[in-house]
Amino acid sequence: MEPAREATRRQPVVDVALQAGAAAGDAQSSRARALDDLRFWDNVYRRLTRSAAIGVLIILGGVILSLFIGSLPALREFGFSFLTEQRWNPVTEKFGALAPVYGTVVTSFIAMLIAVPVGLMIAVFLTELCPKMLRRPIGIAIELLAGIPSIIYGIWGLFVFAPFLQETLQPALITIFGNVPILSAVFEGPPYGIGVLTAGLILAIMVLPFITSISRDVFEAVPPVLKEAAYGLGCTTWEVVRYVVLPYTRIGVIGGVMLGLGRALGETMAVTFVIGNAHRISSSIIAPGTTISATIANEFTEAVGDLYTSSLIALGLILFVITFFVLAAARYMLLRIERRIG
């Protein structure tokens, strides 16, 4: 892997120059040559690593550039109305991104609505309440939940979770909110099982571990002195969390939440299974919908014609730009809290 290692054939480095000298007779010049070699390989390795680092930047640039070039035909054809147009018709080749963008935002919103409070409370439990002995196992279990590939959540959502929702939660929501003026529109229509709500719930389960583990990490970084002082004043555990831990870690928690949001926005497989893939904006959250990533996953290989393909790539570009800014903001906030702690 490293050229330097091969050059010396696994001999101790200090000996390289001497042995080379002994073999060649003219000790002075061959020693100089050996040292030159070392310097040469050192330089090579430094440049190699530097170009690899720059390569990381080039890849990101390449992603943006290739998506932009790929989406040019669609952007040229539809212009700005691509963002505001709801129609998505492959037959007449009229494409608009509004329905997938709306679906992406709504499913992520539902996911965050559930995952943020639950994730924070789990982090509170792990840092304040949990007996020391259980802390590690539960922490690891939550992190394992984060490692399960999204397609597993997808297949589980399709075969287990969606039928369950169809029989229990969705009919209940429809009957409860059926006569409430505004909410009846939100929970309108037959219970399909699959749909925007199901996708949001699956996303909630998926981003929960991310939010939990980051908030736990930032909670643990609160200086014990601060918490002890508050306990010394007679604060209850909840008051310590509410008035000491949360204010101190606010930026970090927001960063963690944004990171989770980034995941939710770009999540593909779990959503594709359960969203129902309907290109329309419905006021009801139990109706089928679509997201940017689900649209791309479902239609890309079947897309015929440049404009269709290009419209899908344009969707990808929109997704990438949105997640880029969300993730950049998240990293910036996490960086700030790291600096304050470190």
Binding site: R50, I142, W238, L259
Partner: protein, 289 residues
């Protein structure tokens, strides 16, 4: 606050309400944890239940069947192994080199902080976008889907993970080690290869394992790079079957046999991923203790 809780009556109700609020909040946090762990149990439970019933030797020895008949997952398992292995072979060296630059040669340079920022974004960028990127730069110019394109797409996902862990682990190596080696006259590249890499070995291997765990279930970037293949194929320049894509296709099909195979495949992937991440954890835990 200074008075004893029981000393005055008007304060007693305040204490009681604070205590009540505390109990409610702590109860909620306990419920939240049970809720979070409950999902893990539910998902894994369903997976074991559905997956095990279809697990047999033929899963590992037979090809994917045509609709409506029994078969196995041999070609997608093989395809996944090949694609993953190649992705690691492409992504790891670049990742290690970049991480080395960031931790060793250019620890405090501007380039490093920019690369770190960008790398962290790539780390959680939507994987489907990576698929689109590779489609644009490899599949479209070559004119056909290929296993190689799938590998490169996964390599783009492997790289940021390896960069991150390599940099973190090399940063943990005490500077005295580097200084001692330098005082013996070792050039920088040798210090890195002989001293730093050795000290950070376990952590770096962990990074690679985590990267493999991450890509072994990735589906989105393979959908329009490696595509799928019904039969045995070792040709990297043609479409190739992979486990996640086959699961995706089979799960959404109306055929019972295919759905069963999808569950079994999901079980295999989950076990692989869990084994890899537990292995990675064990490796670092031993190193730290």
């Amino acid at each position: 606050m200074a008075s004893h809780p029981m000393a005055s009556h008007p304060m007693a109700s305040l204490y009681a309400s604070r205590r009540r609020r505390n109990i409610i909040a702590m109860g909620l946090s306990l419920t939240a944890t049970a809720f979070g762990l409950g999902w893990l149990v539910l998902v894994l439970g369903a997976l074991l239940w559905q997956g095990f019933s279809g697990l047999s030797l033929s899963v590992f020895t037979e090809m994917t069947p045509p609709p409506g008949s029994a078969g196995g997952l041999l070609n997608p398992i093989f395809g996944s192994l090949i694609i993953t292995m190649l992705a690691v072979m492409i992504g790891t060296p670049i990742g290690i080199l970049a991480g080395t630059y960031m931790a060793e040669y250019g620890r405090h340079t501007r380039l490093t902080s920019v690369v770190r920022f960008i790398n962290d974004i790539l780390l959680s960028a939507p994987s489907i976008v990576v698929g689109l990127f590779i489609y644009e730069v490899m599949v479209a110019p070559m004119g056909h889907f290929s296993g190689l394109a799938g590998s490169v797409a996964l390599a783009v996902i492997v790289m940021p993970v390896v960069v991150r862990t390599t940099e973190d682990m090399l940063n943990l190596v005490p500077n005295q080690l580097r200084e001692a080696a330098a005082s013996l006259g070792m050039p920088r590249a040798y210090i890195i290869a002989r001293v730093c890499y050795r000290a950070a070995q376990a952590g770096m291997v962990t990074g690679v394992l985590l990267a493999i765990a991450r890509i072994s279930g990735e589906t989105a970037p393979l959908l329009f790079t490696a595509l799928n293949h019904q039969f045995w194929s070792t040709d990297l320049t043609g479409p190739m079957a992979s486990l996640p894509v086959v699961i995706f296709q089979f799960a959404l099909s109306p055929y019972k046999d295919w759905q069963q195979l999808a569950w079994t495949g999901a079980l295999i992937i989950t076990f692989t991923v869990l084994a890899l991440s537990i292995g990675a954890r064990a490796l670092t835990a031993r190193k730290q203790s």
